[in-house]
């Protein structure tokens, strides 16, 4: 059961489903409408909403007229055991990298983008306390 939920705004829900299932091993839980899908990966549930759809819930245009859009810098992280290996696989598959590998305090990371330009952090822990209990 997924107990952590993250919502990403995507322009093309079908393209996003393909990206997350093919490259990052997400499972498609449901896709009940063209503007919405629910995916999961371990304990992370990722809900995808297209902006501005009618009655689209999380992607709805606000009362003041602002419409949600993809992008930004906030992101979820996917833990990997060998960042270099994963990164080269994704590059070969044509995935866009927003950043090169960044050496951080608790780990190394690289940021990729989904087809709508949303960031995903690939994270390889190098200190035990930064590690999730299991990948």
């Amino acid at each position: 059961m997924s107990s952590v939920q993250v919502r990403y705004i995507v322009n093309d829900v079908d393209a996003a489903i393909a990206f997350y299932t093919e490259h990052l091993a997400f499972h498609e839980d449901m896709h009940p409408a063209p503007t919405f899908a629910m995916l999961s990966r371990g304990d992370l549930r990722l809900v995808l909403s297209a902006p501005g759809g009618p009655n689209s819930g999380g992607g709805s245009t606000l009362a003041d007229g602002r419409t949600p859009e993809p992008g930004g810098w906030n992101r979820f992280a996917v833990q990997v055991e060998d960042l270099d290996d994963v990164a080269s696989q994704l590059r070969r598959a044509g995935v866009w990298f927003r950043s090169e590998v960044i050496e951080g305090v608790g780990g190394r990371q690289a940021i990729i983008e989904d087809p709508s330009g949303n960031p995903i952090e690939l994270f390889q822990p190098i200190r035990p306390e930064a590690r999730l209990s299991e990948p």
Partner: protein, 167 residues
């Protein structure tokens, strides 16, 4: 000659109870349980870690680490929230990350109206007022840096994947 039972004959020395130690131990044991392998990580950017920490504490997060001036790690259930300052994550070309955007964590609350009312009383900014989504009621609030946080409460028709493999 020492025998195992000798230990029972040693004088009993009173030990000061250390509640913080016990609490920490309990937390570690619980976190190392079957659910621990499933925790998920999200990173948010913020300019002021102290204000962010106070805000997320209000939503039920606990501080796990403040290991540098530019970083905090907080937990709420299985969600690990990393708070970073932009300067600590500059890209090679100098681009700095910034708070904001629309992608967000979505926190389930089972007393939605009460939580919304309390947050309003506390002066928390609402990006979107409570509304009905598909199978949920939801609202989007903003942390002090302007990052969105979605609060939702399941309604009729709410779906959640149950059991089975989670790969």
């Amino acid at each position: 000659m020492a025998e195992p039972l000798d230990a029972l004959r040693l004088p009993v020395v009173p030990v000061e109870p250390r509640q913080s130690f016990a609490a920490e131990l309990l937390r570690r044991i619980q976190r190392a349980g079957p659910d621990a392998r499933d925790s998920a990580t999200v990173r948010y950017f913020t300019h002021d870690l102290d204000r962010a920490e106070a805000f997320y504490r209000r939503l039920g997060f606990e501080v796990e680490l403040r290991s540098s001036p530019g970083f905090a790690m907080m937990y709420r259930g299985d969600l690990r929230l990393l708070l970073s300052t932009p300067a600590s994550h500059a890209l090679v070309d100098g681009t700095l990350p910034e708070p904001g955007g629309w992608n967000r964590i979505s926190l389930r609350v089972d007393d939605f109206d009460e939580v919304v009312e309390r947050l309003r009383e506390d002066g928390v900014g609402f990006r979107s007022d409570p509304s009905a989504g598909v199978g949920v009621r939801l609202a989007v609030i903003e942390d002090p840096a302007g990052n969105p946080v979605e609060l939702f409460e399941p309604q009729a028709g709410y779906h959640e994947r149950t059991g089975g493999a989670t790969s």
